[in-house]
């Protein structure tokens, strides 16, 4: 799947890849639309479509970071996010008063993020003991273990039903659970996470990580501790995913084993791959597509005379087609089209002379 590999970011400013070009106009337009979306979109679109897509996109971004720049396809990212959601429910307030500790949000949220980062780091420490394709196997097993654990554990994780009534707090006189503030909350974290990834991949740490992705043995021979860098990458990815998991819990008002089941775990991979593992924006494109499908495909399927159940078939087929025909996702498709257009244009000028 070499095609999905992003190029190297450069630390020295040397133009190693053409990606270093200035931000394209499409990105500015996209950013402006997102910023002023509440002026045009309904509450439903704002929260259930864009809020959800931004959250899923951020979780998938943490996967993209590990896979694209670290060469480690980790399926544990949804689990880390869910873990943070669980921690917020357990430490803060929820409908399950006998379990929840009732800490104020300004204590519960940072503590939940910290614990989730710890969880992600530990999972990473287990997964990086072996490299390559083994990562998928081990992280999937860890994700499954956590899912079964939450389902069976009543005393801490609330068993099969999990926690309901987990709500975003009210502070600075703003009710963060109402649509517009909640949307901005999601947008803010997605933007921060995206910015962090873009920054880190050009910092020495990110550069070292990409070196390890391409050539771990050489990196060790240059004095880099390969294992430590990989574990640190898991910690960083967990830090991206954890707040998104808390937002997801607030969005749904609940957290239950179903949130961290095998299905959602695979969905995050699907989102990242379909969007494109090559660049940090890919997961967000994948997430928007996924959410739109999730919401509107049901109607479309029913209209076609198929049961709404066939949604999974649609997702599976879409994923298969992407992996088979455009391994670098929609982003890759788009970039190839652009390059072709540029090539045709160049050929046109050359021919005109």
């Amino acid at each position: 799947m070499a095609a999905a590999r992003p190029g190297f970011a450069s630390a020295t400013g040397a133009p190693a890849t053409d990606r270093e070009a200035a931000v394209p106009p499409a990105a500015w337009i996209g950013a402006l639309v997102l910023l002023f979306l509440p002026a045009i979109a309904s509450d439903f679109f704002l929260v259930q479509v864009f809020g959800w897509a931004l959250i899923l996109g951020t979780i998938a971004l943490s996967l993209q970071f590990l896979a694209g720049y670290g060469g480690m396809v980790s399926l544990v990212q949804m689990t880390v996010a869910g873990f943070a959601g669980y921690m917020v429910a357990i430490l803060g307030t929820s409908g399950l008063a006998q379990i929840s500790l009732g800490w104020p949000f300004w204590l519960a949220v940072p503590a939940a993020i910290l614990l989730a980062v710890l969880f992600g780091t530990l999972s990473g420490a287990l997964a990086v003991r072996t490299a390559g394709i083994y990562t998928i196997v081990i992280t999937l097993a860890i994700a499954a273990a956590f899912f079964y654990f939450t389902r069976q554990n009543e005393t801490v994780f609330g068993g099969f039903l999990g926690f309901n009534g987990v709500r975003a707090p009210v502070f600075w006189g703003i009710d963060w659970r109402s649509p517009v503030p909640f949307y901005y909350l999601c947008l803010a974290w997605a933007a921060i996470a995206w910015g962090l990834v873009v920054w880190v991949i050009r910092a020495p740490f990110g550069l070292a990580l990409q070196g390890i992705r391409d050539n771990p043995r050489r990196m060790a021979a240059l004095g880099f501790d390969v294992t430590a860098h990989r574990i640190a990458a898991y910690a960083f990815a967990a830090f991206l995913a954890a707040p998104a998991g808390i937002l997801l819990t607030w969005l749904n008002g609940q957290i239950a084993p179903g949130t961290v089941g095998i299905g959602p775990v695979i969905d995050v991979l699907v989102i990242a791959v379909v969007g494109g593992l090559g660049r940090p924006i890919g997961p967000f494109i994948g997430a928007l597509l996924y959410v739109l499908l999730r919401i509107f495909a049901l109607d479309a399927l029913v209209a076609l005379g198929l049961s709404g159940q066939r949604f999974q078939l649609l997702i599976g087929l879409g994923f298969l087609v992407t992996v088979l025909f455009s391994p670098d996702g929609i982003l890759g498709l788009w970039e190839r089209a652009r390059r072709r257009r540029a090539a045709t244009a160049a050929a046109g000028t050359a021919g005109g002379r």
């Binding site: 630390a11 020295t12 910092a203 020495p204 740490f205 550069l207 070292a208 060790a220 240059l222």
Partner: protein
Amino acid sequence: MATAIAERLSATGTVNALELRGVTKQFGALVALSDVTLSVRPGERRAILGSNGAGKTTLLNCITGDFPASSGTIRFFGEDVTRFPAHERIRRGLRRTYQISLLFGGLSVLDNVYLACLGVSRGRFSLLRPKRDDALLESARTLVHAVHLDAVAERRVAELAHGQQRQLEVALALAGAPRFLLFDEPAAGLSPAERSDLVAILNGLPAHMGFIIIEHDMDVALRVVESVTLMHEGRIFKEGTPEEIEADPEVQELYLGHGHG
């Protein structure tokens, strides 16, 4: 006992740069290295010769920790590094080049060297981007200059000619403050002009920097070293000065007579 000797040596300031005792490496049933004992003084430059499969590259791999030795001890400037992972040995001043280029093709020359400088600096986990006048960047530029690659410093390594990639390999090994270097066939595939360039680079290294060089090309190997070790089937077979080795009839028969084995 070996420990006592090393301690005594380090006390008198004559500790060896490299001290191998009984180093053996097995891959399953295959014995690639068998009971290799070898010492190299600081600043000493030594060639290791031998036919293909004699265990030369395996020996380098054991010294750097790319593959750990199955048994035996390895001391680097008196310190027992036998159980150290590769990166710990590198941070103590050991460096190597690879026979097949293991470079970062998607990165520029300068970035490759920058990574090498970063690997032996303290900023490995830094989240701050380097500034234009960053000290690491400066030393990377100096190294690029030292191996005569200034003209292509900003080019992607994948676009470089073979000879330039070999020169870059040398630059990566010179990053930081190396105390001892291992060169694995640095002249392989080079043109005669590039070879004499390489000899100039190797002879131009500071006198305190010893190295071991594996090289098939006698013209290169014997012009840059003061001692030679001959390996055969995973064992050390003979040691001596370049003149002694060249004059030895047994050596002629076994190795030199066969040209590029």
